[in-house]
């Protein structure tokens, strides 16, 4: 009986070998693609600037490309490869065989893992399947956004067109109660099988905003909108809010509700089209958190970029009144995280672009996984941008009781809950 050994430990059962080969195959292809790209066009150590921006046209957003044409330079580095988490692979092997799509694109018989590990580019439903693979990519059993940032908080900077900056600190906790891979109970916390995720978000700076806490619940039921409760310290009460207005700007940032994590809409509310594979420039091994930049600007000064293989997914809304008639995600073939997100407005004009760096972090047992690092969103029409440093600490073992209205009432201004 063949066993695959990693770090001297026998980890995978024979039945998982096939699956792993498929997952690793995408990685190897990606890596090979990188090597090929590096050999053909981009070399490790090469500097891209105004003199040779053409080499990366189509590999970055148009706004960043314009900045490069205007003088910004970037350096190419070797690509990093992340190993998929063993438990996630095992869950995929165990449950993916029964997963299918319903008439409206909803997911049927899904339990945990990657819903569609085997993808056929000629499948007319590949777009929908890629969307579900993105939604159920590995994100840990829980995480604290900002947990791996010095100070333990998300740092957000809203930058005006003239370079003025306003800072805000946020702490955010996510719980995935129905797709658990590492922490018991697995795969779901009893009673929570109907919930995809719960987010607890606490504003902690500046002072007047601090203590504002939201509890958001995303349900598996496609017909059920998210629940949102907001604790307002100015009246010391919890207020209920609707989440159906997904396009509202979360001022002063340039994000809206559906921009969080690049795409946070209900999967069944959209149509998807696979546009093919593409090599893009990203940074999945960010070295400095946050990256160095000039005050008043979002461009990273001390980070290098690497070639990454992606699926390009076009998202169009079923609701004609939705803010983004077109959104493009560039999904990492191995992790299904996005690196570049591009958005257009109703006139068809380029509106926003978002890029997210990733960085390696360690689980409690020492295994390396990936986390979002710095995320930048630029509104090319009004010149405003927002930078968020949001590195995660995964699998902290948060109890489900933490994600309840009792917690909202117990947070003090500037305080924490753990």
């Amino acid at each position: 009986m063949m066993k695959l050994r990693v770090n001297g430990q026998a980890l995978l059962k024979p039945t998982a070998v096939t699956l792993s080969i498929i997952l690793y195959g995408w990685l190897l292809l990606g890596f090979a693609s990188v090597a090929a790209a590096a050999e053909a066009d981009l070399k490790v150590g090469e500097t891209i600037g105004p003199q040779n921006w053409q080499k990366i046209q189509g590999m970055v957003g148009e706004n960043l490309l314009s900045r490069i044409k205007a003088g910004y330079t970037i350096q190419i580095k070797a690509s990093k490869v992340y190993q998929p988490l063993k438990e996630y692979v095992e869950a995929t092997e165990k449950y993916s065989g029964k997963v299918s799509l319903g008439a409206n694109g909803e997911l049927l018989n899904y339990v945990a893992g990657q819903p569609f590990p085997k993808l056929d580019p000629n499948d007319p439903q590949i777009g929908q399947k890629l969307a579900w693979n993105f939604f159920y990519r590995w994100l840990g059993d829980d995480y604290k956004t900002g947990g791996a940032v010095k100070g333990g908080k998300i740092l957000r900077f809203a930058i005006e067109k003239d370079g003025s900056e306003r800072r805000a600190d946020v702490v955010s906790y996510f719980l995935f109660p129905s797709t658990r891979y590492t922490l018991n109970p697995k795969p779901a916390i009893p009673g929570y099988e109907h919930i995809d995720y719960i987010q607890l978000r606490i504003d902690s700076y500046p002072r007047d905003a601090s203590g504002t806490t939201t509890l958001e619940i995303r349900y598996k039921d496609p017909a059920r909108a998210d629940d949102l409760h907001i604790y307002l310290p100015s009246i010391r009460r919890i207020r209920r809010a609707t989440t159906t207005q997904r396009c509202q700007t979360l001022a002063p940032s340039e994000f809206n509700l559906d921009d969080i994590n690049s795409f946070n809409g209900k999967i069944t509310d959209f149509n998807y089209k696979y546009l093919g594979d593409k090599k893009i420039l990203a940074n999945i091994s960010q070295e400095h958190l946050p990256f160095a930049r000039k005050p008043g600007d979002y461009l990273p000064l001390d980070e290098k970029w690497e070639v990454v293989d992606t699926f390009v997914l076009e998202i169009t809304p079923k609701d004609p009144n939705y803010c983004y008639p077109r959104k493009l995600l560039h999904l990492n073939k191995a992790t299904f995280d996005t690196h570049w997100t591009l958005m257009w407005d109703k006139k068809g004009e380029y509106w926003k672009e978002q890029f997210g760096f990733f960085t390696p972090v360690k689980l409690a047992d020492g295994r390396e996984v990936w986390s979002v690092g710095d995320v930048v969103i630029v509104n090319v029409q009004n010149g405003r941008s927002t930078i968020v440093t949001a590195t995660r600490a995964y699998n902290q073992g948060y109890p489900a009781s933490m994600f309840s209205l009792a917690t909202l009432q117990s947070i003090m201004r500037g305080g924490s809950i753990e």
Partner: protein, 563 residues
């Protein structure tokens, strides 16, 4: 002696915390562990603020000079969070307020207030509006013995309910109504005027997925300053000469009751000693009022509540015993009737009688409920509205009651059926509110920046209503049904650097208030904000509801720096 020890202890603690959290290295003298503790576990925040206001009411009755200054209030509030352990956190803050007593207000008070028996009117002390106690403003220890049980011990705020702008169930902590104009949440929100109380609060999450939570609180009251066990407000306006009124936010006093040119307010509550034979001023009853603050042993507030979610509905049912009634819900209780001269003079009907009354906080209890629910669409039409509601049943709520029309040609006079001038009625109050975020692109620079709107209906129903029920301060009757509407809209422009917010309220009986505000939050510094705020009032009858404040229109500039 004990109070002095408290003051010394808290003063010292405050200074130590402030110094060590700003320069943790100094804690190093106590050892490396202390320095590390202050660096990692103690965080410091707070704000300084100045609010200045001027009266803009036409022909102000309060200031007959060019000085129409109504406020110059300076606040500094340092706040500390201490992560003592994974299961225990401490929050402690101090609040220091410097606000001068206004000389015109003091002169006005001296000119118009009269006591019986006659005695000098005590002037407002210079520091009447200031707050500088070394006792912490808020000091809570949050303990979580298990992940489902949360205990909060200390000087704290407990706020129930779903209302905005006005209070209904939010009557556990008292309010300081001395410095803040009424119905102006954009100037001072409820949290800024709420008074903390020492006590214990417990939250136990029975079932997290359905937010099934048991809550219990107990506030003894004995540890609070006596006058902070109940709402603070400027005392009743006496109307010796019906001229200038004192107090920036004192309500317009009852001036319709006069007998022989004298204030007959006392006649509302008691009859003269010889009503049958009195003549002229002999039929007058002079009011002699005192504020009766609850004693330490009778200030307990205890409550319990259970909340739960079923689908999209979240609701709660609770009970409060010993609540603190809002200032407008207090009553005068008649204790005795005496004579302004020798008793025989009143018995013969020749001299004014004197009614001794106490302004009391009755220990009525409340059966409370609240709910909230989101409606996405109705008949396929997008509604996108959050509905919320509050309901409070007050069994046997006390009201003052008089007889209409009154004796001696007065509009109203004492009702002999109620010698204490109090009647108790079961009262139901409720609020229904609707919140919606609406996009109005043509009114916005960012078409996706929503306008947040909220609409509320407040209603009070007095069961088994009797003719003659009135508030303690006025002869204006309270109807069986009382209704108030509020509307609030807010949004942001230019990346939320300009933030308008408007709160209005309207009583269909003909009263209104408007509280518009615009805040500038500079894009280059998140710590600073400047707000221009108005407080305007109106009504056809200045003896009722918000008409009581119809001569107090003012505008304010609020400057705030957060740290």
């Amino acid at each position: 002696m004990v109070k002095n020890c408290h003051k010394i202890f808290f003063s010292t603690a405050g200074v130590v915390l402030m110094v060590l959290s700003s320069t943790p290295a100094w804690a190093g003298i106590l050892g490396d562990d202390w320095e590390k503790f202050f660096k990692e576990k103690v965080s410091f925040g707070g704000f300084v603020e100045n609010t200045s206001g001027v009266s803009v009411g036409a022909g102000s009755h309060f200031f007959n000079t060019s000085n129409r200054f109504v406020m110059n209030r300076f606040i500094i509030q340092p706040e500390f969070n201490v992560d003592m352990a994974e299961w225990a956190k401490l929050f402690i803050s101090w609040r220091f307020v410097a606000e001068p007593r206004y000389s015109m207000e003091t002169k006005s008070r001296e000119a118009t207030v009269t006591y019986f028996p006659t005695q000098p009117v005590k002037p407002l002390i210079v520091t009447y509006y200031s707050e500088y106690s070394p006792v912490p403003w808020e000091a809570v220890l949050d303990v979580s013995p298990t992940d489902r049980l949360k205990l909060r011990i200390g000087r704290q705020f407990i706020s129930w309910g779903e209302t905005d702008g006005f209070r209904l169930l939010d009557v556990i902590n008292p309010q300081n109504l001395r410095f803040s104009p009424p119905a102006a949440p954009n100037l001072f929100n409820l949290d800024e005027s709420r008074l903390p109380s020492w006590g214990l609060r417990m939250l136990y999450t029975v079932r997290p997925v359905s937010n099934t939570i048991l809550e219990f609180f107990a506030l003894p009251g004995s540890l609070d300053f006596p006058d902070e066990r109940v709402d603070l407000f400027m005392g009743a306006n006496d109307t010796g000469d019906r001229k200038v009124r004192y107090g920036r936010w004192s309500a317009h006093p009852e001036t319709r009751l006069t007998l022989g040119g004298r204030n007959a307010f006392g006649n509302l509550f008691a009859n003269p000693l010889n009503p049958g034979a009195c003549v002229g001023l002999g039929c007058l009853v002079i009011p002699s009022t005192t504020r009766q603050l609850p004693g330490a042993g009778e200030s307990w507030k205890v409550g319990a509540r259970v909340t739960h979610s079923i689908g999209k509905l979240n609701f709660g049912l609770g009970y409060i015993w010993g609540f603190n009634p809002q200032a407008t819900d207090m009553v005068f209780k008649v204790t005795s009737v005496g004579c302004s001269a020798a008793l025989i003079a009143c018995q013969l009907g020749g001299a004014p009688s004197v009614v001794n009354m106490k302004l009391v906080n009755d220990r009525t209890n409340i059966f409370a409920g609240h709910f909230n629910y989101t409606v996405d669409q109705i008949a396929s039409l997008p509604v996108n509205t959050a509905i919320r509601g509050e309901i409070a049943l007050y069994p046997s709520e006390p009201y003052n009651i008089s007889q209409y029309p009154g004796q001696f040609g007065l509009m109203a006079s004492a009702n002999p059926k109620y010698p204490e001038a109090i009647v108790e009625k079961n009262t139901l109050r409720y609020m229904l509110g609707f919140d919606r975020s609406t996009l109005i692109p043509f009114l916005q620079d960012d078409p996706w920046r929503p306008f947040r709107m909220s609409f509320q209906i407040f209603q009070r129903v007095i069961f088994d209503h009797e003719n003659g029920i009135h508030p303690f301060s006025s002869a204006q009757k309270i109807n069986k049904f009382t209704t108030n509407f509020t509307f609030r809209v807010s949004t942001g422009y230019l990346g939320d650097t300009i933030l308008p917010d408007v709160f209005v309220s309207y009583d269909p009986a003909g009263y209104w208030s408007a509280n518009p505000a615009v805040t500038y939050a500079p894009p280059w510094n998140e710590k600073i904000s400047l707000s221009l705020i108005g407080a305007f009032y109106g009504g056809h009858n200045k003896f009722a509801n918000l008409g009581l404040f119809s001569e107090k229109d003012s505008i304010f500039l609020k400057m705030r720096y957060q740290f």
